[in-house]
Amino acid sequence: MDAIAQELDQLELETRGQQEATGRGLLTPQGETSSAWKPDNVPIASSPNSSGYDMTDSLDEAPIDLRTLVYVSIPEHLNCPICQLPFINPYTTICGHTFCRTCILETFKSPLGNKCPLDRIELNYKEDRQETEEKNYNDIFPAPIILSNITDDLQVRCLNASRGCKWIGPRWSIKQHLVNSCDHTRFPCEHILDQGQVCGQLTERRFLGEKCPHELFDCAKCGEKINIVTEEHHLKNECTKNFHKCNGCNLEFPEKTFDSHESYCEKIHVRCPGKQYGCEWRGSREVLSQIHSSECVFVKLSGYFELQEAKMNDLVDENKMLKSQISTILDSITQGKMTNLGYSLQLEEIMDRDRSTDPSRLFDNLQEKDYIQLMMEFEVLKTDLNRLRSLASEFELNKQLVTALANENIQIKDELHNQTAALSSMRQQIQFMLLDRRRLRSKLIDAEAAPQPKESSSSGRFTNKL
């Protein structure tokens, strides 16, 4: 273990030593000075002092590096994920991602290899177009033309902006502008000098004319040697005799110091700092600082106004955010995704969040809670009702059974009555028959009292039986 620790210490020391030597330590790219990542179009060399666009070659070969363009505004979605600039010649992969052609092809040569830089899906591509077509390799292909159209229509500034060109236009027209119309594009001066040589200096288009713009003449103010090209710069920044009268103090200053004078001249006329809130006052800076600023209501109120403005901006931002949320929710509703309205959170969580952030909605929340409770109670009652309903139907059945039984009972009762009636009538009949018999027997006894005693004994038995 100790040996390893020593070794590591050694290594550390070495690294620190290297770091001191190179100034960058571990991070110095050693042996990695291979081809640097460069776009296809290499910009034309420009002069070191003012960067811009120069025409040195013939008109046909005037490549413009679109990557150096300055855009007026960049919509994030139109940016290539690799160079992070609006797409230039966009290509799309089978996994649906879009890159500049040069960027994605450069990636294929990098350690990542033939994979999509965004999801690392394997992409088939061969540089040799013939082979690509034969083997039906088509994992990357030109993006829909509308995408190129949109990116080509983005507004860009002129490459000569630093030389003073104010042009802004669509990207597709930048080449035409630079080559054909921009006054600040530089060309080699073709005038022949006294010695028979071509002048050859790079000169902006606006200076090219009949005479060689590099011919020297004396400055009208100070007498220094200048030419047309340097005249503007000389008068503004170098000439010590190019006086300019100050409107405030009526003194004269050279142009080159005039701007700094204006910033401190006490006599110069300025407007009240409260002018944005409606103050019409204007006067010298002196008066402003000594008298007006202590009197002006607008200046006094400016703190309050600023506060209000900040608050207003906050509210506008918040409003915007809420609007976008609502539109997301509406979209989700129209698309029928009611369960999770396009948010990563569940609907309940979003509602909770809104509740916790906005105390003014407490009342609504109460109602909502009540509503939920009522809904639950309602559910309970509903189940109760269903249970009761089934019980009731059972009772109904029982009731039917009972009425059926009662009916039957009545029927049986009737029958019983009939039976008893029949029985009593039969009894009466029998009684009547018995009476009849008794009468007949007494008659018989009366008639044959002496001769037939046996018969009377048998009939007596019969009577007993009944």
């Binding site: 590591l8 290594l11 550390e12 690294t15 960058r24 330590g25 571990l26 991070l27 110095t28 790219p29 990695e32 000075t33 291979s34 081809s35 640097a36 990542w37 990557r67 150096t68 994920p81 690799i82 160079c83 992070q84 600039l85 960027c103 450069e106 990636t107 040569k109 990098s110 350690p111 990542l112 994979k115 830089p117 965004l118 690392r120």
Partner: protein, 148 residues
Amino acid sequence: MSLPKRIIRETERLVSDPVPGITAVPHEDNLRYFNVTIDGPSGSPYEGGKFKLELFLPDDYPMLAPKVRFLTKIYHPNIDRLGRICLDVLKANWSPALQVRTILLSIQALLSSPNPDDPLANEVAEEWKSNEQNAIKTAREWTERFAQ
């Protein structure tokens, strides 16, 4: 060689719209070299610490990954004594669609969740696996000692 537009844009965004808990400032005389500080994530043993790192964008960036190294000593199974970091997106899983911003976020996440199963500092990883309580205690002590 002039600085690619992408590096300028990334630097502008890092300065104007910084990631919470992370600062990255380019060196004055080499705009490819950044001084980085990462705040120890809350809930980790590195909480309260300010960790210094250096970050260098090689010439082939973004085709090659940036080179990042901890300058502050740190007790972490995936960071060795020299400050080298074992992180897939810095090596094999680098993609040109990643940025300095995303890499620094990954490193911040690595502080929150050390992975002793893929160690760079073996002793630390062993300790982390056998006695996690103790390892976390050591990490906290180191944070107090070196990362203030």
